[in-house]
Subunit: 356 residues, 2 copies
């Protein structure tokens, strides 16, 4: 098979008709014919090149090496605008799925990318997004092995939507899952909350003031690997994306049938994000993150895991924000800065549409 | 893990707040919060229920049994209208990916579903699509193990877009691939061409006449299994979807560096499809199919494989339509009904937008 793959790979590189950078997407680019092929040869193959992708068949084939369990996760991305401080829809689409795989203890390996393009989109925009995906895939150590492109008429989609589906390998002994939090466990967070949501809002021009807030969009698989170096006994990992930290913790409390008690003063938040949330009337606990994780671990290992997290790039601001108890099961409570206790409920309705 | 999964599964079934059938999609259904949960509990869990899906984590976990190679394929579906004679976007989304897996000899096992919904969509429509996916998944023997839902503002998407990504297991000894056609091989097709494209066009009201043409949308994995019962020596399998039979054969001729010679009189086409194509000025060789496959096999096994195909539901009208030769490499030629020979080129531009 190796030889065949190389042949196809070479052929795919032979003389694709080059694209002019002011060319635009037309319906024919979704036809499955010559124009689709030209798009693939000019934009997707050069950016995503690997033997599995270059097989050129209806499905990519991967060979089993030495894994027992696979993780699979899918996410569609419709963020607006496509580019925002700290990231873009391409990095978001790769890291979003990479992080979902890491949250069950998996090492991300293979990724598929399904594009829905709006007629009239400039090639230059798609090229920039594909390049961003290439860099993100390299940073996360994942290969884009299959893809698909559809084009909708102008006005029936918004520029670019990207679905990514990822497959990862779970090393033996890891059992992280939302149902595994136990009374007595410590609740950790890998860094400050709310950066992504506020950065996208700022990029839309919906803030009445200037801000330097950047999205935290980042691959968390390296951080997760570092944590598992300490122990396999990590009970829950979750990345608080849409719905924010509040919603993620409520999901865990419900799945594990435990109570989660938080200490508001210990929750890290950048002053600029806090200021933006105050002006907008948002609770940062509900604002989306794209490069943070919540970990629930036995207190035995909490300090050691926290120290390890802080030694990594994306866990440098990690801290302990609460603990797990039995009562009231399924609830998240917060000791507020003024000494009271309030229920932190799940997000109801939509705070920020098209944030991811 | 088994016990935990069952617990979650039960909990997911406890008292979801029911939906009224005239309720509509609002942006909050893509928020990741309570409304998203309600959508999942009312529509997706009841239709797609299985232990992997009900894990309720960021990624579904599958366990290796006894496979060496996996096939992975992704496809986004943006067909308009959502419902057409013979199928709908739900059956199309499931079978489209099932068939892509089968075309590399894989047995489809696991499927992910990523929904992009337009604000204002009626729940009833989504429910009907989910039910169709449930039936299609059962018919194809595949499990929907992970999903995602995003909602775009009214006017930024068109009702429902669905990405499906599938994973299948390739039994040992199967090596079907587009680069494997050899001079002397026979070219087979599993049935009549062009039904899907014309059926969707009719459903759009774009035909000036009445027609009873139905889409051929169907799962082809059973047919493929039957074919491999004859021999593992099947060189190429491909389903001629967008771009039709002409484009699929051109891809194969190019990948395998061979010529493909077709006999126009032997290509099966329903009279109603032929009549519609003539009136519209379409060449049926370029019209999309969603339940047909092209097989390229050694002449040694061609008759036996053909007989086997004809014994199955979706291969009853299978026939031999041509042969592979060395010259002119990379080209598809057709002996026409009037005795001439013409080059059958790849589709350029878009014949029928949003057909799948």
């Amino acid at each position: 098979m190796k030889e065949k793959q190389e042949k196809i790979s070479l052929e795919a590189r032979v003389c694709p008709v080059p694209l002019a950078h002011d060319e635009k997407i037309v319906l024919g680019h979704g036809s499955g014919g010559r124009m689709t092929q030209r798009l693939i040869e000019n934009i997707f193959y050069p950016n995503f090149e690997n033997p599995e992708l270059m097989q050129g068949n209806d499905a990519a084939v991967i060979s089993k090496k030495d894994f027992e369990r696979l993780a699979v996760s899918t996410d569609s991305h419709i963020v607006a605008p496509l580019f925002f401080p700290g990231g873009d829809i391409g990095s978001l689409a790769v890291y979003g799925t990479v992080n979902d795989l890491a949250m069950v203890g998996a090492q991300p390996r293979w990724l598929t990318a399904g594009f829905i393009l709006e007629e009239g989109l400039k090639f230059e925009v798609l090229e920039n997004v594909a390049q961003s995906m290439k860099l993100a895939a390299a940073a996360a150590g994942i290969k884009i092995i299959a893809g698909d492109t559809k084009v909708a008429e102008r006005g029936n989609a918004d520029k670019i939507f990207i679905n990514t589906t990822g497959i990862g390998v779970i090393p033996e002994g890891r059992e992280a899952g939302g149902a595994n939090a136990r009374p007595g466990d410590a609740v950790l967070i890998s860094g400050s909350i709310g950066d992504h949501g506020i950065a996208v809002l700022a990029a839309r021009g919906e803030l009445a003031f200037e801000t330097t807030i950047e999205s935290d969009v980042a691959p968390l698989n390296g951080l997760v690997e570092a944590m598992f170096e300490v122990t396999n006994d990590i009970h829950v990992l979750r990345d608080p994306t849409r719905g924010g930290v509040a919603t993620a913790l409520n999901e865990i409390a419900k799945q594990s049938k435990v109570a989660i008690h938080l200490d508001e003063t210990s929750i890290p938040i950048h002053p600029a994000v806090e200021a933006a949330c105050e002006m907008l009337g948002f609770d940062p606990m509900y604002v989306a993150n794209e490069g943070k994780l919540i970990a629930i671990v036995s207190t035995t290992y909490a300090d050691e895991i926290l120290e390890k997290m802080r030694s990594t790039k994306y866990g440098a601001e990690a801290c302990r924000i609460g603990e797990v108890s039995t009562d009231p099961a399924g609830r998240v409570l917060m000791r507020t800065t003024i000494g009271g206790t309030r229920i932190v409920d799940v997000l109801s309705g939509e705070l920020l549409p098209r944030i991811c």
